[in-house]
Amino acid sequence: MRAMEAADIHIIERCKKGDSNAQRQVYARYSSMMFAVAIRYTNARVDAEDVMQEAWIKVFRHIKSFSEHNSFEGWLRRIVVNTAITHYRRNQKHQFQLDIEEVHATPNDFEAFKEIDFTKDELAKAIAQLPKGYGMVFKLYVIDGFKHKEIAEQLGIDLNTSKSQLSRARRYLQDVLHAMSQRAKKE
């Protein structure tokens, strides 16, 4: 995340005053990042568009609360992640516990991971294959740097559940990546 520059601060100040040109400039600069995060959390373009729209409206509505001492990109990322979580919880409220039961722990109790020659797209596909509950915890913890306590609060789950789901997500991902690696070798 880049540091706040004077130009950024000026644009944000204009956004705080409701300047729509400044809002469009901010949108143009950060919308790609926001959309990528939205897609990562929703795994569906249509849902990502909903999340994106909702997140941007929140951004402009609450931009007065943003302090220039913080990272603007980090603040935006948090908003889109939180919006995606809200969207997830709204849609998956009754399926979350099923996700936990769907996937059994892998027989291999790896602490380590052997194959990391994957492209970003391959990793994204592998992560997208994680069951939704696991995937959400994994993405929040590993990619967006949330703490287990925050994840537990955001998802409405127990702290230990968050930890165990992360552990299971890692194992699941190892298996997925291993399988992808095997297929690639055969081809």
Binding site: I116, K120, R170
Partner: protein, 181 residues
């Protein structure tokens, strides 16, 4: 690459892969976002105008209410005063000093005593006949003021001091009155 990787390293590797992720959103999203923003803005302005109207209405109502309340307050004291002050005292004066002003005592007695008896039961009687009470009040006060007898000051807080001054008599107001003949 074939090597063992711990969880932290793996996490770091994944995180680095997604650090600069960017996917261009569809064009129509921008239009939808800013259309929604404009709609919210219009709604907000209407809300502000509506709130302003409500506040002004409430203020106008409040001012009107305050004026009404003030009028009521100004009317209230005359109702309360006759019940407290002159009611009991003319009785005392009448009994203590019949020779001095018999006519006035009689007038006071006629006007005020029924009100005094009734006031204990119901204040509404005083309200209904408030004009009469108000008219009677200055006369009573004049009559009281003309007296040289100490107990004319019927204020309940001053009464104990007065009772101390009259050594030979013990007054328990208003139930029992000892009359000097």
């Amino acid at each position: 690459m074939q090597k063992k990787m711990k969880n932290e390293e793996f996490d770091h590797y994944i995180q680095s892969q997604f650090a600069d992720e960017a996917i261009t959103p569809p064009q129509q999203i921008e239009g939808a976002i800013f259309a929604a923003m404009a709609k919210n803005s219009r709604r907000k302005k209407l809300g502000v105008i509506g709130t302003g109207i409500l506040v002004l209405g409430a203020l106008a109502y409040g001012v009107n209410g305050t004026m009404n309340t003030t009028r009521v307050v100004t009317e209230t004291p005359p109702v309360a005063v006759p019940v407290a002050a002159p009611v009991a005292m003319p009785v005392t004066l009448e009994v203590l000093d019949q020779e001095e002003q018999p006519i006035q005592k009689q007038e006071v007695h006629d006007d005020v005593l029924p009100a005094a008896a009734a006031a204990a039961a119901s204040a509404s009687i005083v309200l209904e006949d408030s004009d009469a009470v108000e008219n009677a009040r200055p006369d009573n006060l004049e009559a009281v003021a003309s007296r040289s007898v100490q107990p004319v000051v019927s204020n309940s807080q001053e009464l104990p001091a007065i009772l101390h001054e009259t050594d030979s008599e013990v007054w328990v107001m208003p139930a029992t009155v000892r009359v000097k003949e």
